[in-house]
Symmetry: C2
Subunit: 367 residues, 2 copies
Amino acid sequence: MAIMEHTVNIPAREAGSYKISIGTGILDSLWAKIEADFAGCNKFVVTDENLVSAGHLGRLLGRCEVPTYIISPAGEPSKSIDTLISIIETMEKAYLGRDTIVVGLGGGTVGDIAGFAASTFKRGVPVVHIPTTTVAQADSAIGGKTGVDSTMSKNAFGAFWHPAAVYIDVAALATLDERQYRAGLVESVKHAVIADSDYFAFIEENIEAILARDNAVLEKIADCNCRIKGGVVETDPNEQNMRRMLNYGHTIGHAVESASGYELLHGEAVAIGIIGAGLIEIEVGLAKDGRLDRIRQILEKLGVPLELPQDLTENKLIDLIKRDKKAVNRWPKFVLTSRIGQVYCPNDQWAVDVERPIVGKVLRKLL
Amino acid sequence: MAIMEHTVNIPAREAGSYKISIGTGILDSLWAKIEADFAGCNKFVVTDENLVSAGHLGRLLGRCEVPTYIISPAGEPSKSIDTLISIIETMEKAYLGRDTIVVGLGGGTVGDIAGFAASTFKRGVPVVHIPTTTVAQADSAIGGKTGVDSTMSKNAFGAFWHPAAVYIDVAALATLDERQYRAGLVESVKHAVIADSDYFAFIEENIEAILARDNAVLEKIADCNCRIKGGVVETDPNEQNMRRMLNYGHTIGHAVESASGYELLHGEAVAIGIIGAGLIEIEVGLAKDGRLDRIRQILEKLGVPLELPQDLTENKLIDLIKRDKKAVNRWPKFVLTSRIGQVYCPNDQWAVDVERPIVGKVLRKLL
């Protein structure tokens, strides 16, 4: 039978860019800058109750009246479709249209939700991130990954939605809960391990100042993180290949985080995942320099727990690893390093095959 | 204070394209083609109970076992976030990863949901559309608009997500409910009114054969629709300007559809919206050729109701128009024509300002 064919051409999307601004105490004068940088747009703020009680929302908005959604309770359990629905309906009730910009003020959860809400609201409006935690400033505010969790897995719903701007005030970290603060620094350690041995040495040398939340040192760390993550993201914005290096420690980490019922913080789970990746490197002969000891030492100084919760089993973790977003035929590839500051990248592949028995053996060592 | 700045560059996204294939009875051999065209991907089918009972799902899959989500009940009330959640969780339970392609088999509702599920599942997987209704074949399967409704408005959640391929089998229309069949043809009339006076004349001359569901005539109509809509979409894929012409009749139409509590079908509401646009054209002096009579005649022959439900008020409709997705400062622009086949486009603006009193006057005429 005759088949007629039409071809619909999708034009190229032009290159774009966004700025990340880093400073100490910039929050107090930021709203005027956002109003100027995004004039003519309605603004809608997404934040959480922690940011309100810490005074950061007040510092940002001053006397400006801006429609705002306050996520409550703060944290991963609110990173759900229910919260997304509630945000979108709040925006609708405020008669907001496509001429709106969403401003996310908060940690990783706030940023992921705010970004995803922006990406889906009336088929997409811009988002601006003001990350206020170690994990968000180092990682989640940069790179355009957004999403919310399903009952079964993290970020089961999501979109790549690059921000229009990112503003990092390291002074906002002063009010962060100690456990959150330390766990979030794991992503900085990860950046150093995969991309920059000098940065790794800087963290080793300045660990006391980091834990004391010295603003000058925190600015330097933010600077390194943005340089490393921004550089990777602009090379491979939609995670076709190189960007997968950022997943170091995350394949086991995500499974551990999920298996703990999110009792472990993301950074804590990733710390265990980094140890797991280091153990895999030993198993496959990539770790003759004994670097895992140096990495373990710094994670111990950060004071993140490096043991798995007691009730986890190898089978449970393997099942969760099979569900990894990037799994192909129910098994993901793993990011490994060849030395501190360098990802193992044979044939331009930034994530490599690791057989299940090796992963099983490593998991038994972690358990 | 010192502010450090980084710039993150987002590379251009390369141009792409997708094919629309049109034929009669192609459904029976289509699955082999999809398996060949998208080899190496897991497939996941989204459809609804009407397609199952009409036998189309069976015709598509034959004896192939493919994980499938069947939307129930069929229709707009299922176009909700709840259905989205259910689909994503079904995909997760099937251990599907990013190497999955979603195949939407059905009408506009199925396509919108399937496309939105594909756009959000693990931050996005491809979608293939197999539209089986007049409205989906003419309109919704082409162009990448996806979404689900909130309790307050249509497509409040959504994304632009271009399909990887579209397959149109006009023989699938044979089983379509008469009311749905006729309402869906309104989008074909719209295409003719905004873009092609010859196509409009063809519809006028062949209205009996169209209503008798003559496959040869339906192929010609599908061909015209794909040429017109595909042409507009590739010029302006993300609705920056020209694509807005496709919104002809939809500004009032969407308000009417929503105000009717979705008792009116989309095409029925758009038919009223097209009459509304024609009345606005008369008010603003764009309709000296009396073309509204020709348009009204064809809509009457299609047998779509052209009166508003009784309990609607002007205020209710105005409030809904203010909430239009494309509203700026709570008032949308309107698409108008200067003759059949030609959108009124002063200064390259495909949608123009119409003052509220004029819209109010037209609504009172419609009520």
